[in-house]
């Protein structure tokens, strides 16, 4: 009996919280809502240390916070959400820790592969894994590619998971691919017959749009807001190319502590500066 009462109370509390949250989102929706938010999920290890928890528990708390945040973003009407799951720089960590993170990633991806029951499929979310996936293990890379295929038909929202990613690696890759493309174009067909004088007139061969097309993040528009938790005020080699006119928000809360109030505050600040940021977008 008591257990039923507690369960009912928890359900009631959940329903009331959900109602209040949706009401707050209705109010926010009077103003412009961002199309794309990116998150640097910093602070899982510090959270574990703060509460004397095992590191794996810290990462699990981080996943719960991520699921809540994704749910809030989708309720608010965001179309694109990007998360910085694992940086190339993180390969410098201790092997056990890297293994912990990779195991966590594998569990998440396997969850996505359960077609009917996965959260991403229930909410119509298409998933992209962004980064130099060749640096991952064969098994993880295969699982990521499978998850991308399984969710390819979803069209309600897009989740971009940056894995084995840094901006400098992305820019290098884009420069490489645009040079390779230009080389193939030069040697395939018409261009091979171009005379030297004509070739000089066509310089530059590689334009900015050619480089941008080859960016890993070319599948999504630039983010409107970038949120880094734990109070650090740097981008740590994340989306440096894409954040020209992006509002940066650095709340002090550790990632597992990040909640609705932080998202609401970020959106309110975005609305305050929306016309300015739109102007900057057009200029860039």
């Amino acid at each position: 009996m008591e257990e039923d009462t507690v369960a009912n109370a928890i359900q009631l509390f959940g329903n009331v919280s959900s109602f209040i949250r949706k009401f707050i989102f209705r109010i926010l929706s009077v103003g412009p809502i961002p199309n794309h938010i990116a998150f640097i999920m910093d602070g899982n290890r510090r959270y574990a240390k703060k509460w004397n928890l095992d590191l794996r528990v810290g990462y699990k708390a981080g996943i719960l916070a991520l699921i809540c945040m994704l749910k809030y973003c989708m309720e608010l009407g965001l179309k694109y959400i990007t998360i910085y799951a694992f940086s190339i720089d993180n390969f410098k960590r201790r092997p056990e820790e890297i293994q912990n993170v990779m195991d966590t990633m594998r569990d998440i991806i396997e969850g996505m592969l359960k077609e009917e029951s996965s959260i991403v499929n229930q909410h119509g979310v298409r998933v992209y894994f962004i980064g130099n996936l060749r640096l991952l293990s064969e098994a993880l890379r295969a699982a990521a590619e499978k998850a991308m295929n399984v969710t390819a038909k979803n069209d309600k929202a897009v989740l971009l998971v940056c894995l084995a990613y840094t901006s400098s690696n992305e820019i290098t890759h884009a420069v490489q691919e645009s040079c390779n493309d230009a080389n193939r174009a030069c040697h395939g067909g018409e261009k091979s017959e171009i005379k030297e004088e004509e070739e000089e007139e066509q310089y530059p061969i590689i334009k900015l749009v050619d480089v941008e097309r080859q960016m890993y993040m070319a599948v999504a528009p630039d983010p409107d807001i970038l949120i880094r938790s734990s109070g650090e005020t740097r981008l740590s080699n994340f989306l440096l190319w894409q954040t020209t006119s992006c509002l940066l928000y650095f709340p002090k809360a550790l990632w597992p502590e990040l909640g609705l109030r932080h998202l609401v505050w970020a959106v309110l600040n975005f609305q305050r500066r929306h016309s300015y940021l739109e102007k900057k977008k057009k200029q860039s």
Partner: protein, 255 residues
Amino acid sequence: MDLEDEVKKVYRWIAKIGNLGLRVLWYILHFVVRICYFAHGTARVLESYLISCGLLKKYKDLNLRNLQYLAIVVESEEAYQTPKVIELLQWLATIGVKHVCLYDMEGVLKKSEEAILEKLSNATLFKVAGENDSLLDKEHIILEFASLTDGKEAVAKAANLLFLKYFKSGNLGGDEEEPIFTEPRVAEAIGAIGCPGPDPDLLLVYGPARCHLGFPPWRIRYTEIVHMGPLKSMKYGSLIKAIYKFTTVHQNYGT
């Protein structure tokens, strides 16, 4: 039919009143946010005054060992306020900052380069100073000017440079292996084309929003970014506080 129409009318009225109510709540919410920022701004001004007067001991002696290079991003409309920019640079020189990169999107600061260097007797351009250590004496400042064209467009130019150097020079055909570019090689090409300066340790943004406005992306990988508010209301104490906070930061670079 009449009853149905009446019911629809009532629903429309309720929806209109509901939307109006939401709009009012939205304005109230934003008003509350403004009050919060006003209160926060007032506290910052007071704190800045106390720091400027030297009443807060911890800000007195700044250890600038980790601050080798500072970048300032200014909103282009505010960048026309050359006297304010000069005053800011004079403060930085007094504090002991040696290298500063001034950036704005539209290149307004680049156009004001001569006027700025004329007013600052202790400033030299980065491309002129080079590796000249004698200029690193007290209150001398080395300046670099950058704009949006030194960012993404510089990367595209670097791609062309690499293409001409590694693809065209060897006249690679379809069967030959394409050269592989590494990050250092791309960085070298970008340095040759765009801003040759090092990565700033700290980037101060003077403008309405915390946004780097297209500062050369290659150079802000691990840069601390601090929003200072509009240039017209810049305060010496806030500058000291931002630099002090930077000196207390510890980075683990992904480890």
